[in-house]
């Protein structure tokens, strides 16, 4: 793998003698979307604030393209585009004026680049309206636009789909995937919603009470671990149940026109084949709860804020 875009080395934060972040160690690589998952209060935003230098690091360091955010702030931060918490902009200025404001803070951003990012996030129409009149979704897009202005190699988005409607969420997801795949940007996305992270991330780090308790590759999880509650809708539930119990040695439950069992992802095609061979008609296959979600809940347990 290539050099990491960002490295967290024993990152700790203590506020008034209370450890908030208890030592995070992980790398984020160019071209990957890293999901930073954890319940509210687990320390996601505190970690992000340390990554971008808004908060002092108590112990450890964050290296961005090899440069320390502590000792080499300017060189480190110029590779980063970020939204921290809500995408807050100056409400009394237009979207364009807001972007021009941030563009002035970094040398070498042309008018064309500003237009380019406006087009990228699809804000051409309302860009000359005051941000105070924007919906949360529009502000979220403007937030992404300002983060992309200087073509950063690392993009940090804190809860980027907050307040977006489903089509907005899908679009953001697409931008994020495109940025990672086409521009080789390392994207860090934080969320407390697993379903969201699962759909756009390559790897997921789960944080709880200031500690990383697991780092999983999304695809690994999908293929190797058990998917609980695979629903298969059939015309003949009884025969289907018998067939699968004999052939796969699985516990199969019935519910109306469905049989329910747990299986690994790569077992599902075999299960379907065996049902088809018995001339059973299949109307649908659904996975009700992914194992990742179970795993997540299991790992998180009760997130008590210490």
């Amino acid at each position: 793998m290539s050099n990491p875009a960002m490295q967290l080395i024993g990152l700790k934060k203590t506020i008034r003698n209370k450890p908030i972040i208890k030592g995070l160690d992980f790398n984020i690589y160019p071209g990957e979307v890293f999901g930073f998952l954890g319940p509210n209060g687990a320390g996601k935003t505190t970690t992000i604030r340390m990554m971008v230098g808004l908060m002092k690091i108590t112990e450890g360091d964050v290296l961005i393209e090899g440069k320390s955010i502590k000792t080499d702030f300017k060189e480190a931060i110029k590779h980063v585009g970020a939204i921290v918490e809500n995408p807050e902009m100056y409400p009394f200025m237009t979207g364009r004026k807001n972007l021009e404001h941030y563009a002035r803070m970094i040398p070498g951003i042309s008018k064309e680049r500003i237009n380019e990012v406006i087009a990228l996030v699809g804000l051409e129409k309302p860009i000359n309206e005051k941000v105070g009149r924007y919906s949360l979704g529009m502000r979220q897009r403007l937030g992404i636009a300002q983060a992309l202005l200087h073509k950063p190699s690392i993009l940090i988005l804190d809860e980027p789909t907050n307040g977006l409607d489903p089509s907005g969420i899908r679009e953001i997801r697409r931008y994020i995937r495109d940025l990672a795949e086409q521009e080789n940007v390392a994207v860090i996305v934080s969320s407390h919603l697993l379903s969201e992270i699962e759909l756009m991330c390559d790897r997921i780090g789960i944080i709880k009470n200031g500690e990383i308790i697991a780092i999983n590759s999304v695809n690994d999880t999908m293929e190797q671990t058990e998917l609980n509650d695979v629903y298969i809708e059939l015309d003949n539930v009884q025969i289907g149940k018998q067939q699968l119990e004999q052939q796969f040695d699985k516990e199969v439950r019935m519910e109306k026109d469905n049989i329910i069992l747990s299986a690994k992802k790569d077992e599902i095609p075999q299960i379907i084949k065996s049902l088809v061979s018995e001339n059973i008609n299949i109307y649908g296959v659904y996975v009700k709860r992914s194992s990742l979600e179970d795993k997540f809940l299991e790992l998180i347990g009760d997130n008590t804020i210490e």
Partner: protein, 323 residues
């Protein structure tokens, strides 16, 4: 360096894009215009013009005044009559020193408008109090601080921006006052001399142009100190309301406090005992015995450095955490 100019430009843009800033300019213009109209149309004798035979005119006026003063019952003195002894003295000064009294003109009006510098101070305090606190209030501070510009540079750009704003207001006041004065009273040449009542009760001839610059200059000292104070409070507490309230309260209550504790020796180290440097000019006594201009300047510089150091510490050393 060009980077820094861009930061100051950003601050200026954010300032002038808001209506509140324009309201400040409008209020200042309105006061300057109204003041001129009042002076022009409510005649209290100050607009009187004297011709070539001004000596006779002044003597005639003096006779009238003396007569009036003898007749008047001190219990029912009107305002215009209360001014009589002063007018008499001023006229005598003109006669004794053979100086022709000059008419009221734009320069004189500009000089009299120095008191409006307090309005500029007020507006500058409001801007200084908001320039950091508002970024926290809006949440935009986070996006501001994750750019390749050091916190010190951002802080400095905001501070410079306040001074630029104060200077702009001052220039605006001068231009408006002079223009309105020129329209309503005319202009009496470039070097205008005037006879002004000194604080010790005597009259003296002064170069109005020079005096105007000095008078505004002294007011600016007070302005810079109070604006820096508001800036510090705003940076430390991240609340504009608190900074405005404290700075304005101290600006108005400060002199009273100094008066109240003036019998103590330490009173002369209070900021407000020193902000008015004009106390050392015009033959007046300083607020507390034993103070000199040099002493005040040193005290002011010490305060100034403390204010800036505290702002710097609060802005660059502290975490930017959630609201």
């Amino acid at each position: 360096m060009s980077n820094f100019i861009q930061l100051v430009k950003n601050e200026q843009i954010k300032l002038y894009v808001r209506k509140a800033t324009w309201v400040m300019f409008a209020i200042l213009a309105l006061i300057a215009i109204l003041g001129a109209v009042i002076v022009r149309f409510i005649d209290d004798g100050s607009l009187q013009e004297y011709g070539d035979d001004w000596r006779e005119e002044l003597q005639e006026e003096n006779q009238q005044i003396t007569q009036q003063m003898e007749e008047a019952n001190s219990d029912e003195m009107e305002f215009s009559e209360a001014m009589n002894p002063a007018t008499l003295e001023r006229n005598n000064y003109h006669l004794e020193n053979d100086i022709k009294p000059q008419g009221y003109d734009a320069w004189k009006y500009l000089y009299e408008n120095t008191f409006l510098a307090s309005v500029i101070s007020l507006f500058t305090i409001i801007v200084a109090a908001g320039i950091i606190a508002n970024e926290f209030k809006w949440g935009t501070i986070k996006l501001l601080l994750i750019r390749p510009a050091s916190r010190l540079k951002i802080l400095a750009s905001k501070y410079i921006s306040i001074l630029v704003f104060a200077l702009t207001l001052l220039l605006f006041l001068i231009v408006v006052s002079w223009t309105v004065g020129a329209i309503l009273f005319g202009v009496d040449g470039l070097s205008s001399n005037a006879v002004i009542l000194q604080l010790d009760g005597t009259y003296e001839q002064i170069d109005l142009f020079k005096e105007t610059i000095i008078a505004y200059g002294f007011k600016m000292v007070n302005l810079v100190m109070m604006a820096t104070f508001a800036f510090m409070i705003s940076t430390i507490f991240r609340s504009s309301g608190m900074a405005i309230g404290l700075a304005i309260f101290l600006m108005f209550a400060g002199n009273g406090v100094v008066l109240f504790v003036s019998q103590y020796d330490w009173a002369k180290y209070i900021l407000f005992a020193n902000t008015d440097l004009s106390q050392y000019t015009g033959g007046s006594e300083p607020a507390i015995e034993g103070m000199t201009m040099a002493f005040s300047i040193i005290v002011l510089l010490v305060y100034y450095c403390i204010f800036l150091a505290a702002s710097w510490w609060a802005f660059t050393k502290r975490d930017v955490a959630g609201q």
